[in-house]
Each structure stands twice: as C-alpha cells, then as structure tokens.
C-alpha cells in the first residue's frame, strides 16, 4: 500500500516536473538558448499565486491568470532585454548562461527580501487528502495535476504540429536562416517560444504552492529538474523532456520507500548521472546529439 501511495505521489510530482521541463525544452529547442532562468519564471509565478490567494484572498482564477501573465512577461522580457542584446554581438553559450544565472540569483534574493525566506504554502480544500482506499490518501490536486499535464502536453504537441507558428518554431530549431527566407522574423518566433515555454510553468508553480510549499530557493531545484529531465529525455525532444520529468518525479518518490526525504535531490542526480554514463543521448535524443 505504501508503494502504491508513493507511486501516486510520484505521478503527481512527475506531472509537475514534466510540464516545467517541457517549457525549458521548448525554449531550448527553438532558440538554442540554455534558459536557466526558467526556474525564476517558476518562482515568480508561484509566489504571485501564493500572495494573491493566501495573503490577499483573491479568487484563484484571477490569481492563476495573473501568474500566467507574470511568467509570460518575464519570459518575453528575458528574451527582449537580456538574450537578444547578448546575441547581437556574440551568441556564445557562456555569456547567455551567465546572464541567465545572474537573473536567477537576482529573482531568488528579491523574493526572499520581499516575502521572507521561510516556507509558504496555499491551502485549499483541493489539497486536503482523501482516503480513497484504506491507508491510501490522495488529494484532488494530484488528479488535477496529472490531467492538466496530459492536456497541456497534448495541446502543445498539436499546436507545434498543426499551427503556423508552431511549425515556425520547429523550423527555427532546425534552420534559422530558412525562417528568414520564408519571410518570417526569427525574433518573433523566438518570442512565441519564450511566451509559451514560460506560461507552461504556471500549473507546476501553482501545484507546488498547493502541495509541497515554496521557498525562494525553489528556482534552483526547478533548474536542476529541468536540466536533468531535458538530458534524460534527450536534448531537443519535447516528448523526451516530458517522460524525463515523469521519471524523475517517480524516482524521487519511489526512493522514499527506502530513503529519507532529504535524499530526493540525490536520487535526481543518480538518475541523471546514470543516463550521462549509459545513454547520453537520452530516451529520444538523436544518436548524434552527443558530439
């Protein structure tokens, strides 16, 4: 029964991780920008949701809408004011990475200064666990997280496969010059990728606020999960990032069967390291992803 409980918790956490990692992977795939400030978008959205609902008592749809807006604005601002000026003179991985890291540090400390460094969480009737079977507790949010992850991912896949901008985004990752030939502006396409990739962290941010709780350092954890899931799944594969996130969430929870909770990050690392050793291309990576 404990195992089943851990499996369900793992699915819920994995769903959250999957959505977050897919956002990171989408941005990386389309723009080749290693957006480590993705965790900052997550932190901003989560804290805004917590502040508007738990502190101000605003209705949650409004709060969720504001969180989406904040994440999208943050993503677009990063693209417009940080990444684009850097890429104008040189597009090195190094400079982009350091700048994004700097933003992550700033956001984490600003939030710590404004909202305090302790743990905060949002309690709703949805996060109260119900005993569905003797000894098996499931909170409605768990089901909601899984459903939303599936819907979100399916929607994104359809968007990328069927719509004009979705196709442009996939094309951008393959060949930026060709985009220009077809009369599209690569900058615009990149902005779409940032807007969608950032918006998609919001469900994960809200569910984390409702379940595990938040602290300002949550961004670093999100960053590790996003990077690990992207590598485990195979760089450049959205499907891979989703499965990678799911696997990490499951592994983290199933490990609780034998280990104490403080080892959860160790489990993430072990999974990541095993993949780097034995299957560096990840689940769905192209065989030559490793150069």
């Amino acid at each position: 029964m404990l195992l089943l409980q851990l499996l369900i918790n793992g699915l819920q956490l994995g769903a959250i991780y999957a959505l977050t990692a897919v956002g990171f992977s989408l941005i990386f795939g389309a723009t080749k920008i290693f957006h480590v400030a993705h965790g900052a978008a997550f932190t901003i959205a989560a804290y805004l949701f917590w502040w508007t609902t738990a502190v101000k008592g605003w209705p949650w749809p409004l709060a969720a809408g504001l969180a989406v807006l904040a994440a999208v604005v943050f993503g677009l601002a990063m693209e417009r004011f940080i990444y684009r000026p850097i890429q104008r003179h040189e597009g090195a991985f190094f400079t982009v990475f350091i700048a994004a890291f700097g933003v992550q540090i700033i956001v984490q400390n600003l939030i710590g200064t404004v909202f305090g460094r302790g743990f905060v969480s949002v309690t709703t009737p949805l996060s109260r666990s119900v005993e569905v079977l003797p000894g098996l507790f499931v909170a409605p949010v768990a089901a909601l997280a899984i459903v939303l992850a599936v819907v979100g991912f399916t929607g994104l896949t359809i968007y990328l496969a069927r719509t004009h901008w979705g196709m442009a985004m996939r094309a951008l990752s393959e060949n930026p010059d060709l985009i220009r030939v077809f009369g599209l502006d690569p900058g615009r396409v990149a902005q779409y990728a940032f807007a969608i990739g950032s918006a998609i962290v919001v469900p994960g941010a809200i569910f984390t606020a409702m379940t595990a709780g938040l602290n300002p350092a949550v961004g670093a954890h999100v960053m590790l999960i996003s990077l690990a899931a992207t590598i485990v799944g195979g760089i450049g594969s959205l499907r891979g990032a989703a499965y990678g996130g799911l696997l990490l969430g499951l592994a983290e929870n199933l490990a609780l069967w034998r280990l104490d909770p403080q080892w959860s990050e160790a489990v993430t690392f072990v999974v990541l390291f095993l993949f780097i050793i034995f299957r560096p291309a990840g689940f769905f990576g192209r065989p030559h992803a490793a150069k």
Partner: protein, 299 residues
C-alpha cells in the same frame, strides 16, 4: 582593526585560490562547473578528518584532501565531459546539491549541520601555525604557488590545447588533440587545487560546517571569476577582492537592515553578472583576452 584586516586578508587569499582555480576551467577551458564549492568542502572535511583522526600535519592533510577531490572530480568529469557542455553544467549542479546532502547527513565524518569544531592548528615542519599573521603568510604563499602553477600550465602546450578546445572543439579534435583527456585533466587539476583552499579554511577557522560549501558558494565563486574577468590571471583576484569587500561596503550604507545584507550582496553581483554579459562579456579586467566562446551557442 588590525585583526580585522588580517582576517579579511586571509579570507581573500583563500577565496582567491578558489577563484583562480575555477577560472582555470571556466575561463581557459570553457567548462562550466557549478560544483567548485563541493571540492572546497571535500578539501576542508578531508583535511580536518585526517588531522583529527591521525594527527596529520598541514601538508599531509592537504594532500589527502587534494587526492580525494581529484578522484571525485575524475568520476564527475570522465562521463560528463565526453558529451556536450550542457551535460557538465547539469551534472555539476546535481553533484553540488548531492554533496550538500552528504555533508549534512554523514554526521560521523562531517558533524552534520553543527559541523566540526576544535580543529587543531595547522602543523608545518613541526611548527604550529597559530598566529593569524603567520597564517596569512601561509595562505598567501599557497595562493602565490597556485597562481604560478596555473600560469605555467596556461602558458604551456597544455594551456594552448585547452584554449584551442574552448574556441573550437572540433578543430582541436581534428588537429589530433585528445579533447576528452585534456578537459578531464584540467578539471582534476582545478579541483585538487581547490581542495588546498578547503584545507587552509578548515585550519584557519578551526571550525567548519556545511554552510560554507553550498550552491550559493559555488555561485559566488563563479561571480568572482566572471566579474573580475575570465581567462585572465589578475581578473579572478580582482573579482575576489571586490566581492569580499562588498558586504563591508554595504554595511556603511544607511537604512539597510543587517539581516538583508547577504541578499543584497547577492542581488548586486547577480546584477553585475547580467550587465557585464550584455556590455562587457570579458569582465572588468578582461580586455587582453577574447571572451571564451563555445560552439553550443547559436553563432
């Protein structure tokens, strides 16, 4: 006041060792390690363990720390450097977080959250270094030696190979350079030398705990290198001095609550990292050498 300056100078020289060794891989080899604080910690805990359990002197304790740091970095670098640069970033981030858990949980060796106290003073040639002034001399000597080693390495054919790999890995490979071995060696050398700083730190404070070896420390070290200037010899030293003087400078500002100084310090160097990357990617001192570029970015 004198004691304050001595203390600051010792801490600056210890951090400068870390910044210089990090710069060796970050600046010259283009390898992005977020795990430098971990090797600092391994050096500190190992030296303490060897000194307290076996009564070892400074040199033996430091050598033990260097050896362990070298082995751990080898285990990290061998698989993670075979593939793309992003893998090493992720793997080092993961290892750093794992290390913090181990430093906190392995209570019999690391003392857990409480840390280890009453570390005996460093013994060097039968001589106990207890005076802060003498310790400053010792740490400056270590820093000087390490700077010389790094300088010699950078100017050797090994250093030229590193820079060639940083600028174009495929081209270096085509010229017959064994890219994986050269990069791995650089990481091992850098990590082993970082352990020296750990040993100095432990013997100096005679107290260590996990707080000194967390992710934030790794980030601060990275900021020192970047702000000062990557791939220069002086840059990391300048960056170290600037960042370590920052809290003292901030405490002179009025209306600043003391509890927020740590956060504001981090915000300041976060901001400095962002602005430098946009306007001056080579860092403050980085005008002689071109900023490192990696093939992973879009050109």
């Amino acid at each position: 006041m004198w004691a304050y300056f001595i203390n600051l100078a010792v801490l600056i020289s210890i951090n400068a060792i870390l910044a210089v060794t990090l710069n060796f891989i970050l600046g010259y080899a283009g390898i992005f390690s977020i795990a430098h604080a971990l090797f600092f910690g391994v050096g500190a805990y190992t030296a303490t363990f060897v000194a307290m359990k076996f009564g070892a002197g400074f040199l033996t304790a430091t050598a033990a720390g260097m050896l362990l740091a070298a082995l751990i970095s080898l285990a990290l670098a061998l698989p993670a450097l075979r593939v793309r640069g992003e893998y090493f970033v992720a793997a080092s981030l993961g290892l750093q977080m794992l290390a913090v858990t181990i430093f906190t949980e392995w209570k019999s060796v690391t003392g857990g959250i409480g840390g280890l106290t009453n570390i005996p003073p460093a013994r060097l040639f039968g001589f106990a270094v207890t005076q802060p002034e003498h310790f400053l001399l010792l740490s400056l000597l270590a820093l000087g030696l390490i700077v010389l080693v790094i300088r010699a390495l950078v100017r050797s054919s090994f250093g030229r190979s590193l820079k060639a790999i940083r600028d174009d890995e495929t081209a270096a490979w085509a010229y017959g350079k064994n890219v994986a071995i050269i990069k791995t060696t650089a990481v091992v050398v850098s990590s082993a030398l970082a352990a020296v700083a750990g040993s100095l730190y432990a013997f100096y404070l005679s107290f260590i705990n996990v707080e000194s070896f967390v992710l934030d420390t790794s980030i601060q070290l990275m900021a020192m290198v970047i702000i000062g200037g990557t791939a220069t010899l002086l840059g990391p030293l300048i960056g170290t001095v600037l960042i370590l003087l920052l809290p003292a400078a901030l405490s002179y500002l009025p209306y600043l609550p003391v509890t927020e100084i740590g956060s504001i310090q981090q915000i300041v160097y976060g901001l400095a990292m962002v602005l430098l990357m946009i306007y001056r990617p080579g860092g403050l001192w980085g005008f002689q050498d071109a900023p490192p570029s990696s093939k992973s970015g879009t050109a």
